[in-house]
């Protein structure tokens, strides 16, 4: 199967999870939000969203609280690094049971 | 002088306006029916006050050879002091014309084999109301007097168009006075 009829002739990828494949399986650590520290959660106001802005896979939602699409989150930890209030902690995947994943 | 193909070399100093003068003559030649007009300054760095050359070729046909002039028909010298610094007659055809801006009398020069035309363009330009040292329009009047190349009217028109926002009347007056006062040898 070839790409002869693909509509673009350049390297072009659109915003959206999954552009790099199903990257959720790469994850070794998972971002966990502490809502008592997260600015939009504390103020109940659409503000900050630094995590949303910096996520290279665009898998963090701009919502209160921000949600992570674990199907595609590769666990890079950039959100935790950038969060101005240290509300995000990277937690070892082994600590989550398969049951929790399904929630 | 063969009037189908004429090569004029201009000697001036950086900033003196030799390029503009040559450009005015080029434009007048073009509208007089010379299809080929090529004007090239000295290639390289341009420095105010340093001796510079500009070459102007005019031809009834399109010019394909852009190489520098080797055997000019006419040389125009915008500053008589350049005679000491540059070999202005280099390659000049026997019987070729030298147009020289100088305050010295015509009789004080002796160019063997060449026809000389002189005028004190520096003084004439001041008389016409131009700032001291503006000689590039006056010299055009001398050139026409010495060569009878294109007719003074078309050159005056060219000067007034080129200097349309910068004292057109005074610039053309300088050329007119120079045309009248140029002393040209036979």
């Amino acid at each position: 199967m070839g790409t002869r009829n693909y509509r673009r002739k350049t390297s072009h990828s659109e915003h959206g999870p999954g552009d790099g494949g199903r990257t959720g399986s790469w994850r070794v650590e998972r971002p966990v939000f502490d809502q008592s520290l997260c600015i939009p959660c504390k103020r109940n106001k659409e503000t900050c969203f630094i995590c949303w802005l910096f996520c290279p896979e665009t898998v963090i939602s701009r919502t209160i609280p921000p949600k992570v699409d674990l199907e595609y989150c590769k666990g890079c930890g950039i959100c935790a690094e950038e969060c101005p209030t240290k509300a995000i902690t990277m937690v070892d995947e082994a600590k989550f049971s398969e049951e929790e994943d399904k929630e | 002088m063969n009037k189908d193909f004429i090569e004029i070399r201009w000697h001036g100093r950086g900033g003196q306006g030799a390029i503009t003068a040559a450009k005015i003559v080029a434009g007048a030649a073009f509208i007089s029916g010379y299809e080929g007009v090529v004007m090239a300054p000295t290639f390289g760095t341009e420095r105010r006050g340093a001796p510079v050359m500009t070459s102007l070729k005019i031809s009834k046909k399109k010019i394909y050879d852009l190489s520098p002039i080797e055997i000019p028909d006419i040389v125009v010298v915008l500053d008589h002091l350049l005679l000491k610094e540059a070999d202005v007659t280099h390659g000049l055809k026997p019987g070729g014309i030298i147009v020289l801006n100088t305050p010295k009398p015509y009789e004080s020069y002796h160019f063997k084999d060449y026809r000389l035309a002189t005028a004190d363009i520096t003084a004439i330009s001041v008389e016409a109301g131009l700032p001291h040292g503006m000689v590039n329009t006056g010299i055009i009047g001398s050139l026409e007097r010495a060569t009878n190349l294109l007719g003074i009217d078309i050159l005056i028109k060219g000067i007034e168009e080129e200097f349309s926002t910068r004292k057109p009347g005074k610039n053309s007056l300088a050329a007119k006075i120079a045309f009248e006062r140029t002393v040209a040898g036979g």
Partner: protein, 399 residues
């Protein structure tokens, strides 16, 4: 309307008539008067464009890449070491398929430092996926700039419009200045396939894998190799687009010629001189002189250098006894790049015919060394008596 101006002004007027939206440039001799003129047009309001003064040529091309990605018609110009400093970014522009037009005012490259004309700068950028067109006079400069935007935008490939530094850039000659209405009729506003837009965000030219992949919509998208193949394929078909451009241009402006080559007195010639740029016009004078001596010689200017019009060139040189290549650049360690390309085209198209002309390579005018017409005529005359050397022969060398 005919005007008398220098080559840089011819280029600047072309860019103005094409209504370029963004100009980013860093001044370098002998390109400087071109970008100065453009900045004056923008400053005076004569031209509605964004003029972005940058701190280097690398940035100039980066700005053009960004502007073109956002859907702007972008222009820059440079010479010599400025072009070399862009080297990384110009390849990005072609890989990203951005229809930027750049004037290369040909100048020798350092070391040693030299501001005069040869063509080593653009020749050294031959293999980077840009279209390269060479001009021989001011009419070609302004016309080529106008055609270049049309071709570039049609095929999404950037174009270098090359013309000799000083010899053309600083020399004044008459040329016909096209009217704005005609240019507007020829060149519609730039409409890119995709332009960066906050409403439809996208990643352009990020890490692209060796193999093909599924995109966000689940469609099979190209890998790096497919994208590179398409650049080559579409560069080759650009030759057809150039012919279309020439035809359209002739319809609107009433002048046109062969889009790839410019032959002069070649039809019945036994020997043909070949070159790029203004040298080919000077060679016309030599050809005329040699014809008077009874020597059957012609000259052919190569206007399109990349993509290389190999078939058209081989066809024009078919049946000739000798091809004499005059070059102001060389592939150091071998020979002139054009000579190699010509040999390749001749072998490809004429090898089976039993008659292959010899190819004599002359190198001249390096670093602005004066090319006297008499010397040029003498070199051409000598070469019509048989190939001078298997190695490139330098003219005017004082060693």
């Amino acid at each position: 309307m005919h005007i008398i101006e220098n080559g840089n002004v011819a280029a600047a007027l072309g860019v103005k008539l094409c209504r370029a939206n963004v100009i980013a440039a860093y001044p370098i001799t002998p390109q400087t008067p071109l970008t100065e003129r453009l900045s004056e047009y923008v400053e005076s309001g004569e031209m509605k464009a964004e003029y972005i003064p940058v701190e280097s040529e690398h940035s100039a091309m980066a700005v053009c890449i960004a502007a073109s990605s956002a859907g702007a018609r972008a222009f820059t110009a440079t010479s010599a070491n400025g072009l070399l400093y862009m080297h990384e970014q110009i390849q990005w522009a072609s890989g990203a398929r951005l229809p930027i037009v750049m004037c290369v005012v040909n100048r020798a490259v350092g070391a040693p430092w030299n501001v005069w004309n040869d063509q080593q700068d653009s020749i050294s950028q031959r293999d980077i996926g840009w279209i390269q067109i060479y001009c021989s006079d001011h009419q070609q400069i302004i016309d080529t700039v106008i055609k270049a935007f049309w071709i570039a935008e049609k095929v999404s490939i950037p174009i270098m419009v090359c013309y000799d530094g000083y010899i053309l850039s600083h020399t004044y000659m008459p040329f016909d200045l096209p009217g704005q209405e005609e240019v507007d009729a020829f060149l519609p506003p730039f409409k890119p396939e995709y332009a960066l837009n906050p409403e439809t965000p996208a990643n352009l030219n990020t890490v692209t894998l060796p193999d093909v992949r599924l995109d966000v919509q689940g469609e099979l998208a190209h890998g790096y190799m497919e994208i590179r193949y398409l650049l080559q394929e579409e560069l080759r078909t650009t030759l057809n687009v150039a012919a279309e451009a020439e035809k359209r241009f002739a319809e609107i402006f009433g002048r046109g010629s062969d889009p790839y080559i410019e032959p002069y007195r070649c039809d019945d010639a036994d020997y043909v001189a070949v070159g790029l740029g203004s040298i080919t016009y000077q060679l016309r004078v030599c050809v005329d002189a040699l014809r008077k001596e009874g020597i059957k010689v012609g000259v052919m200017g190569v206007r399109f250098y990349r993509p290389f019009p190999d078939a058209a060139i081989a066809n024009a040189l078919k049946g000739k006894k000798g091809v004499i290549v005059f070059e102001k650049a060389l592939s150091y360690g071998y020979e002139g790049a054009l000579a190699s390309d010509l040999k390749s085209a001749l072998y490809e198209h004429l090898a089976g015919s039993g008659v292959l002309p010899f190819v004599q390579n002359f190198i001249l005018g390096i670093g602005g060394r004066e090319i006297r017409t008499d010397d040029l005529t003498q070199a051409l005359r000598t070469a019509t008596q048989g190939r001078v050397s298997t190695e490139p022969t330098w003219i005017g060398l004082k060693l």
